[in-house]
Symmetry: C2
Subunit: 139 residues, 2 copies
């Protein structure tokens, strides 16, 4: 779930995430037709929540989101999965959202928090937080 | 995922929901030790997101949350599941959150919205929205 704030309330919607472990960021393909762009422009702090119900594992990431029309990145992120919404990576309505996480929280069951990770602390100390190593999760 | 706003950013955590179809509200057992009470007091509009990954169904509900120390309700909502966090329903740290939904959104795959339900419209017209009939979801 990709959660934004519109000034009055949260807006949440399911979005498929691509994690770039090298860069330490998340990418999402999205459509220009929607309100995410205004919400991100006004309130760039977003939350991304992942749940693996089968293993009762939950992760939330909070960070700064930016939306762009980076066509090279859109092409790189394109997958057969995206064909459900657009004909191809050249579709001019596609945008890419990048989220740079500030921190993350991990639960191993509802209500029981396991770990809070500060990405900022990790960046300052040079120890990169390793996505996907603490818990494998699907959106 | 139960999502609140703290004035600067979203706060999301997994919480087990109980849906009361008669009342048309959701209940959550929670602990007094946390920040949810302050967040709800300042910003009562919360979002609850459910995901059924196996069937690619997603529901978000947005509405007004209130937290109370209604011991009769806490006892009623008590389940063996809750024993992971408290010894019994008499634990003085337990609180109950009630969410009265204003509207809901339903997706049958990430990014593809199926239905937007206005609970207010349903209330005005006397046609109660029927939870759990459009899609069976787990948190």
């Amino acid at each position: 779930m990709f959660v934004t704030w519109d000034g009055e309330r949260q807006r949440a919607r399911p979005l498929a995430a691509t994690v770039d472990r090298e860069e330490g960021v998340l990418y999402f393909l999205t459509d220009i037709n929607g309100h995410k762009d205004e919400q991100i422009a006004r309130f760039p702090t977003v939350t991304v929540a992942f749940a693996d119900h089968g293993h009762s594992r939950y992760v939330t990431l909070t960070g700064k989101a930016t939306m762009s029309n980076d066509r090279a990145r859109i092409k790189q992120l394109w997958s057969p999965f995206a064909k459900a919404w657009w004909d191809g990576p050249e579709d001019p309505a596609i945008r890419v959202i990048q989220v740079v996480p500030d921190d993350a929280e991990l639960w191993d069951s509802p209500g029981r928090i396991v770990t809070t990770i500060s990405m900022l602390a990790a960046a300052v100390t040079g120890r990169a937080p390793k996505f996907g190593e603490n818990a494998k999760v699907i959106m």
